[in-house]
């Protein structure tokens, strides 16, 4: 667990978080508990998620960094995405799997990877079959339109910040 303390200190000292990352901080205010984190990310530019924000729930297991952190979307802000389970918020990302995780990577890196995933969906290991179908058929227009349709009534970033944290 000593490693996550160092990461916490490092994140606190950062002048600015990376692009499209609004916040990244532990859930509880007490610095003693660093096992659960929250992060708000923005949909990257040139993606159908642009101008929308999503809340990530991060759990740091005790074996971290030998095993990857558990990251999923908050139930109230699950983006329609081919690698995201639309009901549970589970994320299918290879580097967050045990066999592909490397202890060299940290929390900041993992959240950045999820932002990347929003822009570059991988239809080969889908959790949302309908969307992955559209991708495999290379119908990006339908894919983007469908996502925008789903996201039309999506809560505003400010609202997420207020009610969830």
């Amino acid at each position: 667990m000593s490693r996550i303390i160092k990461e916490y200190n490092h994140i606190r000292k950062l002048n600015a978080l990376p692009d499209n990352m609004t916040t990244l901080h532990p859930v509880s205010n007490a610095t003693s508990d660093l096992s659960n984190w929250h992060s708000i990310i923005l949909g990257p530019k040139d993606s159908p998620y642009h101008n929308k924000s999503f809340l990530l729930e991060i759990h740091i297991p005790t074996e971290y960094p030998s095993i990857p952190p558990v990251i999923k979307f908050n139930k109230n802000s699950i983006p329609p995405h081919c690698n995201v389970n639309f009901t549970t918020g589970e994320i299918c990302l290879n580097i967050l799997k045990n066999e592909n995780w490397s202890p060299v990577w940290n929390l900041l890196y993992s959240v950045q990877a999820i932002i990347q995933l929003l822009a570059y969906p991988d239809p080969s290991s889908p959790l949302n079959i309908d969307l992955s179908r559209l991708l495999t058929l290379k119908d990006s227009k339908a894919y983007n339109s469908l996502i925008k349709y789903y996201l039309y009534n999506f809560p505003k970033p400010e609202l997420i910040c207020d009610c969830e944290i």
Binding site: S2, R3, K6, E7, H10, E63, P65, S66, I67, N98, E99, S102, P103, V104
Partner: protein
């Protein structure tokens, strides 16, 4: 020690120097624990980590084998101690240690780190580095120049191609295999086994052989099939037949060169051996590739025809004799080979046969070159070398084996008939030529040849009897 870098560094501003120093200090930080490395270990790919961090990484590492945490390169040899990084850190510590205020903090920090260094030295002395993950495990190695098969680096035992599923353990020495290799040549062989290259019957036969091969217990497999485990894969059939093809071409060359041989005495034993080889080859090809076998037979026929047209009666006669003997030898020889075939794999056995045939051949060639005056005793010995009655005693066992392989036998028996037909034809041609070219016999070595003939016929009769001993029960079934 005053290079260009040294001089330019001194001239630089304080800010740049600080930046450089920070970067150097950063390089002494382990990227896993984000702490200074007191026991830096450098991986074969050049990345340094704490000893403790690598230990926990290797022990928690997945079944996919050990990999570098940084670049994911497969790590096959244990990371070494990086003394340079250790020196840098010590220089920093020694230089910054003069401040009384932070001395205590330094002390507590270094004390904990001393412990980890002691642990490393203890592990090193006990040859238990990284919890023995390297000293107690083996590698899967492939020698592409040899056979291209993944083998255990500890005992050189052949690894199961699917050993990833079998828990990554060597089947022989039970050592854990810590890396993953895909046997490239096995893949090639798999590709090489294409159903389009075989007729339906052949495919059926192949399938039969494969299933039969997998039936026997592992023990017998190991006992008889040392180092031939690769034959468990059907695609090898192809490569083996290729080997035979090569052999066949060698045989052909050998044969044609022998036709020109001037002395009949010299010629005799060689054709004998050749005939044997040719027949074995024929037998093999019919087992695996009917077409090839037929082609070969045709080749042989034309060769024989050349013989009859060009050469005198004695040679033809001898060839006939050989042909008969060959049959005898072949049957006899096939029996133990079948024996092995049942338990392990016919191809490996054929390999052995091949060596057997090649072994004595080269020896006798030398002997023949030494002198031409071999008497009848020599040939008698020669034959007895080839045919040993012992193997015929267990004909009951052979019979049972044959029963199980009855379908294959039918094909081979057809082959037998063909050979016998050829033999009888030759005998017929022999009798006609004998009357015509009797005078040709009046040569300097005709006496020797007469002697030979006498011995030959007696030998032949006994061999024919032996042959029928084996063949008769077989034909009864059919």
């Amino acid at each position: 020690m005053s290079g260009l870098l040294h001089t330019s560094l001194i001239q630089r501003s304080k800010k740049t120097k600080n930046k450089l120093l920070i970067q150097i200090l950063d390089s002494t930080v382990c990227s896993i624990c984000q702490d200074y490395m007191f026991v830096p270990m450098v991986t074969p790919c050049g990345h340094s980590f704490c000893y403790g961090c690598l230990c926990s990484w290797f022990s928690s590492s997945n079944v996919d084998g050990l990999s570098c945490p940084h670049c994911r390169t497969s790590i096959t040899s244990a990371p070494y101690f990086n003394s340079t990084l250790k020196q840098w850190l010590e220089i920093f510590l020694d230089t910054l240690d003069d401040n009384d205020k932070i001395k205590d903090i330094f002390k507590s920090m270094t004390e904990g780190k001393e412990e980890s260094f002691k642990k490393y030295q203890k592990d090193k002395n006990n040859d238990q580095l990284y919890n023995g993950v390297f000293s107690e495990t083996a590698l899967a190695v492939i020698d592409e120049d040899d056979d291209g098969i993944a083998r255990c680096s500890n005992c050189h035992w052949e690894l199961d191609p699917d050993f990833e599923e079998g828990g990554n353990v060597c089947p022989h020495c039970n050592t854990r295999i810590r890396n993953h290799v895909t046997s490239t040549s096995t893949n090639v062989r798999t590709e090489g086994f294409q159903s389009s290259e075989y007729s339906e019957d052949e495919l059926e036969q192949l399938q039969d052989d494969i299933t039969r091969q997998r039936e026997p217990s592992e023990d017998s497999n190991n006992n008889i099939n040392n180092g031939n485990a690769d034959n468990e894969e059907s695609p090898n059939r192809k490569s083996i037949t290729n080997i035979f093809d090569d052999k066949a071409s060698e045989d052909d060359e050998y044969y044609s060169s022998e036709i020109d041989a001037p002395s009949t005495t010299k010629f005799r034993p060689k054709t004998n051996k050749f005939g044997w080889k040719a027949n074995i080859y024929k037998q093999r090809t019919t087992s695996y590739n009917d077409e090839a076998g037929i082609n070969d037979e045709l080749d042989m026929d034309s060769d024989l025809a050349d013989f009859i047209a060009d050469d005198d009666e004695i040679e033809v006669e001898e060839l006939d004799d050989n042909e008969d003997e060959i049959d005898g030898i072949r049957i006899k020889h096939r029996t133990p080979s079948n024996d092995g075939y049942e338990v392990t794999d016919g191809f490996s056995d054929d390999d052995d046969d091949n060596q057997e045939t090649l072994g004595p051949l080269s020896n006798k060639e030398d002997m023949l070159n030494e002198s031409e005056s071999h008497d009848s005793e020599y040939y008698e010995r020669n034959h007895s070398g080839f045919v040993s009655g012992d193997s015929l005693d267990d004909s009951a066992e052979v019979q049972e084996l044959m029963k199980r392989r009855s379908r294959k036998r039918i094909i081979e028996d057809d082959e037998d008939d063909e050979v016998e037909e050829i033999g009888s034809k030759k005998i017929a041609s022999k009798t006609t030529t004998k009357s015509d070219d009797n005078q040709d016999l009046e040569k300097s070595d005709s006496d020797i040849m007469d002697l030979l003939d006498g011995n030959q016929t007696s030998n032949n009769s006994s061999k024919r009897q032996r042959r029928y001993k084996v063949v008769v029960p077989d034909s009864d079934e059919d």
